[in-house]
């Protein structure tokens, strides 16, 4: 296992071993996430730049105020639900990774299953929201909403919203696919034969990253 006893005078950088005491796959996953952070960072910064160069911007509370079954006039409610779904699925992923460390196959399968359910639930929420906005006339290149001060708004509000949440949704989707693959591999005893569940850990890193990005997207689009 990765957590071997660590003596304090180990020469981490002397060669012949990982200086960080992690296998290369995890290292690569981390640096991939770094680079993906720059992808999302660039998107969000581009969004900020356009907002700073615009004379006005729609109020998100006026735009996102519907809840399925409850009608409109409920700002922030639906997106709160989405946020909590993602946080909870992140928690179940943590538990799945920990079960993997303990080589507890049943628990891994259970928590992965719930993580996948969370991911699908999030995607469904997003699909509903997109559909609802589309009904209201919003799409790429179409913006029915006016600026907060009542002046005409450019289409960039919806352009950025659909592009960035779409890109995030694409990440959630690939995360769900990865998790399903992990679930199948766990159920078919692939990890048992390998003797470790390190793959789950890497999938977990990716999943948490998706949650992390949502924290930023949520704040940038729905709150401020």
């Amino acid at each position: 296992m990765a957590t071997t006893a660590i003596t304090t005078d180990t020469k981490w950088w002397g060669g012949g071993k990982s200086p960080f005491n992690v296998e290369y796959g995890k290292l690569m996953m981390w640096y991939f996430l770094m680079s993906d952070a720059f992808t999302f960072g660039a998107f969000l910064i581009a969004y900020g730049t356009i907002r700073f160069s615009s004379t006005g911007w729609p109020d998100p509370n006026e735009v996102f105020q519907s809840f399925p079954g409850l009608g409109s006039g409920l700002p922030l409610m639906f997106v709160s639900l989405m946020t909590f779904i993602l946080i909870i699925s992140s928690v179940t992923m943590v538990l799945a990774v920990r079960a993997g460390h303990e080589r507890n196959k049943a628990a891994v399968v259970k928590y992965l299953f719930w993580t996948i359910i969370g991911g699908i639930a999030f995607l469904s929420c997003q699909a509903w929201e997109w559909h609802h906005l589309h009904e209201e006339g919003a799409w790429w290149g179409r913006n029915p909403f006016v600026n907060q001060d009542g002046t005409a708004s450019s289409t960039n509000f919806t352009n950025f919203f659909f592009t960035i949440t779409g890109f995030h949704g694409f990440h959630v989707f690939s995360g769900v696919v990865i998790n399903i693959i992990m679930l199948i591999m766990a159920m078919t005893d692939t990890f048992e034969r390998r003797g470790h569940y390190l793959m789950i850990e890497k999938a977990g890193l990716y999943w948490h990253f998706v949650d992390l990005v949502w924290v930023f997207v949520f704040t940038c689009f729905y709150l401020i």
């Binding site: 002397g14 796959g25 640096y31 680079s35 581009a46 450019s154």
Partner: protein
């Protein structure tokens, strides 16, 4: 001059021959088919060769394009029947059309910057040298390494196909600024050609990320016992920083391109505002900013020039130290300056945009940060010069190219200080001064670093030497030619001659340069022909060159020369050697060189 070096005292020829036919260490050697060995190979050495040869193919295509548009610049309006034969309807009557001219310029830039000097240079040498010099059997993930090459190959295929579409390849310059790149109605090249250009570049970004992550993980995790970070050869350090630059900056370009794709195809206006096109009318797109694209593009674009130059710097440091028979001067300073350049690379991007409408106050910070780059660059130059100082120089072709690199880097770097000042840039931007600057400091210097590496490691790659006479002809013609082509462009630029123009003969003020432009064109053709000579040398020597007979022909300290002459997959026979010292113990205590694998003696002096 003797290629073999005069040393060879520690080489063990018998052992090498035995190893040559033998299996490669504890690694698999089971029935390799042609496909698994040469096509979908997972051996880092084969992938490096694939990168190199693909890069060379692109260099020839890109170089030929420059010859073609130089014909137009040198002899505007004149008819060359060969051009019609080559380009068909794009050169009716033997004169290149304006559309074709811009397409050639654009594709030349894109191909040379990304396919040749990024994939061809760092792709080749990172793949080849990282496992060999750090003492690893292969990359951390050979499979991802293979994918990296094939994504690059796919990017090349898409780019090549864009040349053959009816409306022609993209023609808005390699930087692909909107609105020209965002609107299909802006120019013929902005139609299908631009879509293919974007797809190709997106594939290229994926390739570069797959490669870069692998290089970083390999360098950190897979070093052999004793190979601490400060014992790494400078090549590895340079490739390490190159990979970091790529991993952190290419994603930003990808984001910028995704927004551009939406602008092109889905009616968004991220980069578009207030546009009127003749024949189409006013566009509904409002609220975007074309400057935003420039920011996103140059956030990659600037690190990109260091992605090109850092591997060349690393190669030059290694080749120069080996052939001066002296330790590299100031190893830690070299390392620190590489780090400083890598950091500064990320914070100076807007110096490409001083006249775009960038806030001048913000611009002044970019001026300051840009001029700071002169410090680590100067440290490196002085360290190379002091490495040469009183060295026991062996003028191998690799060494000549290394010295040529330093010369180019100085010449081109000094004009960078001119351009880094926003006030001077008002006059110099978009003139031939820029062309001269970046071709010398990035293009030619990068190519020189690549040639230094090819000449130096060719024996390791193919077990044979390149022909020396041809190498020397190649070097001297290329060096003289590069200066003759690009030096006069400084004068043209200072006189205000703008870049990216099809024909200058309408301007009275540029008529003085008619002769000079013809001269540059003629030299460009000669230099291009000389590169074909190198190509001949390369492929001829691959099969017919003089065989390498000793394991360590250059008397070098680094680990790749402890492998068999033709190492198999797995690199070392038996155990991977342990490392006991840094890579630069040349001329120490009366020894000509001491390999990194030699244990430190009891009475050895400290370096």
């Amino acid at each position: 001059m003797n290629n073999e070096g005069v040393i060879g005292t520690q080489t063990d020829v018998g052992h090498v021959h035995a190893a040559h036919h033998d299996h490669d260490g504890d690694h698999h050697h089971h029935h390799e088919t042609f496909i698994s060995k040469y096509i979908f190979s997972m051996d880092h050495k084969m992938i490096a060769k694939q990168f190199l040869i693909t890069g060379m193919v692109w260099a020839i295509i890109g170089g030929l394009m420059s010859v073609l548009f130089r014909m137009q610049l040198g002899y505007p309006g004149e008819s060359f029947p060969i051009l019609e034969t080559l380009l068909g309807k794009w050169a009716k009557g033997g004169t290149i059309t304006p559309e074709a001219y811009y397409a050639l310029v654009t594709t030349h830039g894109t191909v040379l910057v990304f396919f040749v000097l990024t994939a061809g240079l760092s792709g080749t040498f990172a793949n080849f040298l990282i496992p060999l010099q750090i003492g690893a059997r292969d990359m951390a993930s050979p499979f991802m390494n293979m994918l990296s090459y094939w994504f690059f190959f796919a990017a090349g295929v898409v780019m090549l196909s864009s040349i053959f579409v009816e409306t022609g390849p993209f023609s808005g310059g390699w930087t692909a600024y909107p609105p020209l790149s965002a609107l299909g109605s802006a120019s013929p090249g902005s139609k299908t050609g631009m879509d293919l250009w974007l797809i190709s570049m997106a594939l290229f970004v994926v390739s570069s990320l797959l490669g870069g992550l692998n290089y970083i993980a390999t360098i950190l995790n897979m070093r052999t016992k004793g190979m601490s970070m400060t014992r790494l050869p400078l090549t590895i350090w340079a490739l390490f920083f190159t990979a970091i630059l790529g991993v952190l900056s290419f994603p930003v370009l990808l984001s910028g391109f995704i927004l551009l794709i939406f602008d092109r195809n889905f009616g968004t206006s991220f980069y578009l505002s207030d546009i009127f096109i003749q024949g189409v009318g006013a566009l509904p797109n409002e609220g975007g900013s074309a400057i935003l694209y420039q920011h996103l593009f140059w956030f990659l674009g600037h690190p990109e020039v260091y992605i090109i130059i850092l591997p060349a710097m690393g190669i030059v440091s290694e080749v120069m130290s080996t052939n001066a028979r002296k330790p590299i001067f100031g190893y830690m300073a070299m390392l620190g300056s590489l780090f400083a350049i890598a950091v500064l690379a990320f914070v100076v991007w807007a110096h490409h945009m001083f006249v775009s409408g960038l806030n001048p106050f913000l611009g002044s910070f970019f001026v300051l940060l840009t001029l700071l780059i002169a410090v680590p660059s100067a440290i490196k130059v002085f360290n190379w010069l002091t490495t040469l100082w009183r060295g026991n120089l062996r003028f191998t072709a690799g060494m000549l190219y290394s010295i040529g690199f330093v010369s180019m880097f100085i010449s081109g770097g000094l004009t960078g200080i001119f351009l880094g000042n926003s006030a001077l840039d008002i006059h110099l931007h978009d003139t031939y001064f820029i062309i001269a600057h970046f071709h010398i400091v990035m293009g030619v210097a990068g190519i020189f670093g690549m040639y230094a590496g090819i000449y130096h490691w060719f024996p390791k790659m193919f077990g044979r030497y390149l022909n020396n006479t041809l190498s020397y002809i190649h070097f001297w013609v290329t060096l003289a030619g590069a200066y003759l082509i690009f030096w006069p462009m400084h004068y043209e630029g200072l006189a205000g001659m703008p870049r990216r123009y099809y024909d200058y003969s309408n301007w009275e003020s540029f008529k003085q340069f008619v002769g000079l432009n013809q001269f540059i064109t003629i030299v460009a053709i000669i230099v291009f022909a000389t590169q074909l000579l190198f190509l001949f040398n390369f492929f001829y020597s691959m099969y017919k060159g003089r065989k390498v007979t000793s394991q360590n022909p250059w008397g070098s300290n680094t680990l790749e020369w402890t492998t068999p002459i033709n190492p198999g997959h797995g690199n070392w026979v038996g155990e991977i050697p342990e490392v006991h010292r840094w890579a630069y113990d040349y001329g120490k205590d009366g020894h000509d060189y001491i390999s990194q694998t030699t244990p430190v003696g009891a009475d050895e002096s400290r370096h």
